[in-house]
Symmetry: C2
Subunit: 377 residues, 2 copies
Amino acid sequence: MTRFGEDWSRGFRDLILEAGVRALEDCGLSGSEIEALYCGTMASGALVGQEHAGALIADFMGLTPIPSTRLEAACASGGVALRQAYVTVASGVHDIVVVGGVEKMTDVPTAEASYALGGAGDQEWELFMGATFPGLYALMARRHMLDYGTTQEQMAAVAVKNHANAAKNKYAQFQNEITIETVMKSKSVASPLKVFDCSPITDGAAVVVLAPLEKAKKICEQPIEIVASEQASDSIALHDRESLTKIKATEIAAKKAFERAKLAPKDIHVAEVHDCFTIAEIMAIEDLGFVKKGMGGKATEDGLTRIGGQVAINTSGGLKGCGHPVGATGVKQAVEITWQLRGKAEGRQVKGAEIGLAHNVGGSGATAVVSIFRKVW
Amino acid sequence: MTRFGEDWSRGFRDLILEAGVRALEDCGLSGSEIEALYCGTMASGALVGQEHAGALIADFMGLTPIPSTRLEAACASGGVALRQAYVTVASGVHDIVVVGGVEKMTDVPTAEASYALGGAGDQEWELFMGATFPGLYALMARRHMLDYGTTQEQMAAVAVKNHANAAKNKYAQFQNEITIETVMKSKSVASPLKVFDCSPITDGAAVVVLAPLEKAKKICEQPIEIVASEQASDSIALHDRESLTKIKATEIAAKKAFERAKLAPKDIHVAEVHDCFTIAEIMAIEDLGFVKKGMGGKATEDGLTRIGGQVAINTSGGLKGCGHPVGATGVKQAVEITWQLRGKAEGRQVKGAEIGLAHNVGGSGATAVVSIFRKVW
């Protein structure tokens, strides 16, 4: 992956190229061995005027004439690209497949980016009416506070933990630790969410390489198996949801993924979950089954999701600390889990991590992808 | 599919819903039997402010919580969605899969749509420098005229044939026949291309349903087998291409598709090819191997590509006559081929059609998808 952040010196294509070269170097493959390419990007049309990103990337990575396809599911674009590549390897149509995710978000004014990102929700019923994404997640936060007594300090604890992790990750956008007070005193964005409850606008790219397991074992010394990758959908507008305090698509995708992997939440040592807002991480750890519904805030406050706790959540720093180049996030999660299972996560390493999970959400929860990874050497 | 055209009364979601309901009615399946959804749309973000179209469509078709994914490859978005759904069925991960394509293009001014469509080429090297899509194809047309003596009248013959076919298709945007003179006297867009050399701006949607062959035979009386679906990429900017007079990605995808299908161009009875401009159809029939390189113009003028000719090209009316809602086009091609192989193409039926081909191009040729279909009952 690239170092995430505000990158004024490089464009969309430079970012994915850098991540791509690093991924190929890591596995020691040459471009001529790659059979297909999938790329997640959410809003390259609105953010850099570039659609048709699949072909662009194949071109700039020197991989033409292989099939190269862009996938999009808002902030879950990287996750669906990863899953579709996994399905493709399973089909036998292609063996060695590169999956990238990329977003260049800082080339347009923030208001323009906000409008583009609003397209992740229901344009007619939400965006057109003035609902921004912080606004939508603020509704979820308010309801979670009302139903379960979740506090703003508990949400702040998510940001504090994730900044602490990011501070140990040289690829993270933010490298500074913060305190509960930093969050509580920061400017309100959409009450009860404050600036430090929100993930940032980020430029970045991430790439992984997939192959059938037996082939992967020959290619690299530390292959990671994707034991499951499941995806689910829900109504795109909040007003049609069964509940405002859970992401039903996460529950469904997680249930299927655990079943396919023959594993349970207690088996997971390390997980990257979708914390676009602090309340989103609290809901995620509940919906994924790591803690009981309603207990996500308290669990975070009690340190259960820290490195060394019951389950290490967002060791990369998550979307909050590591940054959130939307299309890249789902692939970056796979990169972090790979580093963790390989014991290469440096100062943020989870000891003995053998099984990891990545959880990527699109929009306010209309898409969720849950993938489970296992060390196999 | 929906009737293609300028549709002022309905929105993006209404179009795909109508096509989706028709497809499910056609095969007699209920929504609960659908396991996954793929949707091609090129620029819903720029054209209707809506990204995350996969989830939106699952929602409005009442198909949540199934996985639903948007794919994009410019004007080949429908083609890549079809191919990815085919790969997914082949993987065994999902059996019954719905593939849609949709674009609502008339909700923004034409200049805005043109800019969005320009994102199908290289934003930095082409669009930003002022090259529009008619401009890019005009370069190809000029070179084809220079190298092979292709004439403007031969290009006009493509439009005349495709309008004649469209006039027999109740789903087509244009239902009027035209003459060579109509084309030759129409306003210049980017010389030598005139208004009637260009496909129109169109609203529309198309949907097909895929299943493993044995299952499809149980579900419907007239199943069509996809015997091959291949995709290739090329440099996104024209200036990096090997040649301006062919689409290399078409050549490569076609070669692979014919190999996999164990068929040759002469075996094809009916083909939908990507005629975004008249010159594009001339190059397509050459690159697909239906006629020798350089002979596409003459073959068209001589009537070899008419219904009843050597191979019937664009019986639907093609992009020129039937219309070109970009994300829908690749799926519409599959719909037309299905109708042809089922003998249900009414006044434009190709007698005894048993094998068909669909050819979908993204941008100026950086993506091409070629699929071959066979009647199997």
